[in-house]
Amino acid sequence: MNPFIYLPIAGISVHVLILFSLGLGVGFLSGLFGVGGGFLLTPLLIMIGIPPTVAAASDSNQIVAASTSGTLAHWRRNNVDLKMGLILLIGGVIGGTIGVQIIKILRTTGNAGFVIKMIYIVMLGIIGIYMFQESLHKLRAPLENVGETARENSGIDRKKKISKISQAYQSLPFQTHFQKSGVTISILVPLFLGILVGILAAIMGVGGGFIMVPVMVYMLRMPMHVVVGTSLFQILFTCISVTFLQSYYNQTVDIVLALILLFGSTIGAQIGAKVSDRLNADQLKIILASIVLLVMLQLTLGLMFRPDLLLSIQGGH
């Protein structure tokens, strides 16, 4: 039997196992870290020859499946903060709409791709270095960490750690207690963060989990296991809207490509969710930080070295 499958919207044929493996690998990371995986899968699809616009749009479609599977898995584990997720989602939809308009303007200037890559590099660089430094610090001082964790668990040090930014959060109106996450914060904070992530997600063509996860961990101070489930919940609905809009306006969603990817990614997401239960938060953070930094490095080098082809077909990011 022919192992190649023809992708009708992409207009090329690709080995089924390559697509399945990509889906499986990225789905695994999705379940493990609560990220949609779009920031990894889209560049990988482009590398195997899928047109950039089709890669990004179909990726959103497959993230719907991976996020559904992952959200369900975390829902069963009681890891989704529905209240927080809904506020983030409202912000995400508002931000996404703004982001789509920004993309339109960027495209008319002819260098949307460069701007998108630069945003990727800056965002991934900040997030990756911050996460890596903190996780490394904790791994290097395990004994201190044990004590610190114990104090953190008892709630003694938690108040001491509240930064000036956190104090500013507390002065905002509409303070609400999020029971599942165990935090009390103004709803304006997650709403604003949702808008910010929505803008970035629309510009970068991804679900935004890789931004949302660190934001929820470090800025909202939510527990890691709730962060993963809530992030997947928010990604699910963001990608549903992106899939519809891309299908309707650009006709760039390749359902055959998405189907193969989602088959791999849903399996990978379940495996990832199971593995995440067995790893501690610092191990998860340092692995995610390494992946984020590697992608950032690859993007940076891609901009600095002379490309093999100086011409490219217009239409992609």
């Binding site: 499946a65 369900l72 002819g110 460069f114 899939t243 088959f263 011409l311």
Partner: protein, 263 residues
């Protein structure tokens, strides 16, 4: 006796007629391209289409060189051109490429410049020399002269241009030759009609030419998906979401059962 002589005379006349007729036919065929075949001449792009080898064969008069050319429709495309600003590479200009064939695959029995003269190549519009003459580049920024080479590089990279195919030539009786070539049709080829040309050269000059059509069409799942995506985008989008959600829920349930239920 007279009857026998008459019979012999008739036989000789008829024999001579047959001999002359055969020789004349042979002479006529000896100067023509015959048994020109393309297999397949109708290509279907289905769910498992991965490009196809296109087998071209023909019987031709004695020639010094043979060229087989498959060409797509002439089209205009817009490309982004990268350039270095400070220490980074980014798109610095948009280039409109006009009159470029969408596909150009060429196979020859020898190097093109050994088969025919430069003038002949340009007159007959063969090879990259001819493409260079046909296409034009337009940009709001000054052109730097690298555009054609970079354009060819891009097209060769995605497989839509290739001029390195080989034509096999075998001797046949009566100063005839049999030519065969296998040309690879890439998987991303758009549906449509393509023209295939066979050129025979003698002493650097073209002396025989034949052409045939190759039809490429989408069928089955490919046709259905594209039709829905482009003609009913809302239904297509909703279908894509429902399929993804169903797959996610189904996989979630499968894993839930395997792990013995929820926590």
């Amino acid at each position: 006796m007279v009857t026998i002589n008459k019979s012999i005379t008739y036989i000789l006349i008829i024999g001579s007629f047959i001999f002359c007729h055969n020789n004349l036919s042979a002479g006529k065929n000896a100067d023509n391209i015959t048994n020109f075949k393309i297999d397949p001449d109708h290509i279907e792009i289905g769910a498992f289409f991965d490009g196809v080898p296109l087998l071209v064969s023909a019987e031709i008069p004695q020639s010094d060189g043979v060229v087989i050319e498959l060409e797509g429709k002439i089209q205009d495309v817009t490309l982004n051109k990268k350039g270095k600003r400070a220490f980074i590479w980014l798109n610095v200009a948009q280039i409109k490429v006009k009159n470029a064939p969408s596909l150009y695959i060429l196979a020859s029995s020898d190097q093109l410049d050994k088969i025919c003269s430069q003038e002949e190549l340009e007159d007959e519009l063969l090879g990259y020399v001819a493409i260079r003459r046909k296409i034009t580049f337009e940009s709001d920024k000054p052109l730097t002269g690298i555009e054609f080479d970079e354009f060819i590089k891009l097209k060769e990279h995605n497989g839509s241009y290739n001029i390195n195919g080989k034509v096999k030539v075998d001797r046949l009786p009566n100063d005839r030759q049999k030519v065969t070539a296998t040309m690879h049709i890439p998987s991303f080829i758009p549906a449509g009609d393509y023209e295939l040309f066979l050129y025979c050269f003698r002493e650097g000059k073209l002396f025989k030419k034949a052409s045939a059509n190759v039809m490429i069409e989408e069928v089955g799942l490919t046709l259905l998906t594209k039709d829905l995506a482009f003609n009913e985008p809302a239904i297509y989008g909703i279908s894509a979401i429902i399929i993804a959600l169903s797959a996610g829920i189904m996989m979630g349930l499968i894993f839930s059962k395997r792990s013995g239920g929820a926590h």
